[in-house]
Amino acid sequence: MSERPVLAVEDLTMHYSIKAGAVRAVDGVTFSIERGQALGLVGESGSGKSSIAMTLLRLLPDNAQILRGKILLDGVDIVPLSEERMREYRWNRISMIFQAAMNSLNPVYKVGEQIIEALEAHLESAREESIERVRRLYDVVNLDPGLIVRYPHEYSGGMRQRAIIAMALACEPDLIIADEPTTALDVIVQDHILREMRSIQAELDMSMIYISHDMAVIAEVSDVVGVMYAGKIVELGGTADVFHSPIHPYTRSLMSAFPSVTGKKRELGTLTGEPPNLLDPPEGCRFHPRCPYATDVCSNQEPPKVRRGNHWAACWNPQGE
């Protein structure tokens, strides 16, 4: 670990304020990513995955506040940066592939134009150079360069997704966040695109954050996995470690819900109960109302971090070993 991590997030806490109170969507999240590494974030719907992504780009709605924590990009904390300075970081340093990729292209402009627009916001290059660059990007993502002058509605779903990836690559960022990059695509296209993304990432030595509720996708593409529950990362470690010897009971139940990942038969019943209300999350361990291993202490004290090498989980009653 001689090199400084590309991204280091420390104790990041973000709330949305709504009439009923504060939605604690991101709560004390800490992790870091090395150059060339892919981090997968997995968790149920509403666990705060997209919220983390949007916080990293500081693209939050008006009702959101970052209460605590640091986002260190190459050692620079971007949380206190002015909006104007922040603009230089967006796309140039961190870009994003959005959850609703289908809708993240503006229907009234040609797709190529929308990529050039991103280039022009950050690079001082002549228009011809920009066009040439888009052409190369289309090559990288296996799109016909003729499509550059077409409108989004003339693209198929898979083509649009590729164009979005090309757009994310445009400024050669250090980090790309892919929020459910393939959820809306059919399985075959999904598989293709994931594999392509993986190889592009390796080739360009970029860092990635993959966000998905699909364990299979995360297992396929990431080196490191973080499991999210109710705004917190509850387990973090190498992909193999987390999937083969999960520590946290929540991770275990997620595993059993996806038997294809572990190859084992379901040993636990699938998750019962509702995900917690982030307006008023449970005391102590947020998972305790649904946890089959819960003990008294779980319901009133924050669980400690249990470490096994580079792999940790926050739990009073760690599993495995």
Partner: protein, 382 residues
């Protein structure tokens, strides 16, 4: 795209046809139908009356009358006005239609331009007194009793301040020794306006499309230049003071009509912007690190424009009514005032003729908005 436009044109022609039929039905459905009105009208000399009866096929069966009516309408033959006898309806309309078109188009373009520009800003800076104040202002303008508002404008700017004339199209004193008729001067003014706007539009289109360096400077320069040329030509023509007289008479009605439509346009833009701001491509544009202004104008406003254009079609009828009221209060001798005075003097042929033209005008505007929409939205292909 072409197919879509052809389809819309055919639809609008069909609509026009149904519209004409409704008018015919209305005119004939009442007890003393138009033929009686004609034959009983004491103002008409007998030979004219006979000619008119021939023209309308009054003695023919109803369906033939209908065909004759459609033919007459399509050839612009609406008969003779009672109140302005012996002028024909077509003649009266020919004189007044341009005045209405200029009043209405100038006010509409201005109000939508201003309403869009302000609505954009208001939606972007949500909350605060700017949004509150402008929303209240727009609702007031939107629901204010139009004649009263027009009256207050006259009272304020013409009667009290004395900056502008009180109403009408021109000042007869100025025109007593005029070498040409008001209409001739007015037509030249219209041509000037068209040339001016086409030139400026072309420059804008060229500079933004080709991304010419120093676009702003070129645009400003071209505006000044064309304005100077136009001013020069007018001064050389020797009737510039007459044209100015008409312009002076136009300012207040155009301004008032602009303000009235402005409120609706602004509210519309604001709502449309607020909805568009939630789109994912707007978040994506922000994520790309584009400057706020570019996100607002290129991504949000550009897309918010589409529903605004659509609603414009729905508000056309409202705007035309507004124009008619304004004409009447300002004694602006256009189609609206013609319609109203024809109705008050029971000059049926003129009223029907003016109404048919108002209808045709709305349909054409509808078609224009369609064309604009196709131009603005690349998704429409058939």
């Amino acid at each position: 795209m072409a197919r879509y436009l052809i389809k819309r044109t055919l639809q609008i022609l069909l609509t026009l046809f149904i519209f004409l039929s409704i008018v015919f039905f209305l005119v004939n459905a009442q007890p003393g139908d138009i033929s009686h009105v004609y034959s009983l009208n004491p103002d008409l000399p007998p030979e004219t009356r006979a000619k008119l009866q021939d023209l309308f096929g009054v003695n023919e069966p109803l369906w033939k009358q209908y065909l004759v009516y459609v033919k007459n309408t399509l050839t612009g033959n609406f008969g003779v006005s009672f109140s302005l006898y012996p002028r024909t309806v077509a003649d009266v309309i020919g004189e007044r239609l341009p005045r209405t078109l200029v009043l209405f188009l100038t006010a509409t373009v201005l109000s939508f331009y201003l309403g869009f520009a302000l609505g954009k800003i208001v939606a972007w800076r949500r909350g605060g007194w700017v949004e509150y104040g402008s929303t209240i202002g727009s609702v007031t303008l939107y629901t204010v009793f139009t004649p009263w508002f027009a009256l207050m404008m006259i009272w304020l700017f013409a009667f009290r301040a004395g900056w502008l004339p009180i109403g009408k199209f021109l000042d007869p004193v100025e025109w007593r020794e005029a070498p040409t008729s008001a209409n001739a001067v007015f037509n030249q003014m219209i041509i000037t306006m068209i040339v001016l706007s086409v030139a400026i539009f072309a420059v804008f289109l060229f500079t933004t499309r080709k991304r010419v360096a120093g676009a702003r400077l070129i645009q400003a320069g071209s505006i000044v230049l064309t304005a100077a040329v136009v001013a020069g030509v007018w001064i050389a023509s020797g009737v510039a003071h007459l044209a100015w007289d008409i312009v002076e008479h136009m300012i207040l009605p155009v301004g008032t009509l602009t303000l009235i439509s402005f409120g609706g346009a602004m509210l519309l833009t604001r709502n449309s912007m607020l909805e568009t701001m939630r789109e994912d491509y707007v978040t994506a544009a922000r994520a790309k690190g584009l400057p706020e202004k570019q996100v607002r104008d290129r991504h949000v406003a550009r897309n918010a424009l589409l529903p605004v254009v659509t609603s414009f079609v729905f508000s056309l009828a409202f705007a035309v009514d507004g124009g008619i009221i304004i004409e009447s209060v300002f004694s602006w001798p256009g189609m609206g005032q013609t319609l109203i005075s024809a109705a008050t003097t029971e000059d049926l042929p003129l009223a029907v003729g003016a109404f048919v033209f108002v209808g045709i005008f709305v349909l054409v505007a509808h078609l224009a908005a369609d064309v604009l929409y196709v131009y603005l939205d690349p998704r429409i292909r058939y």
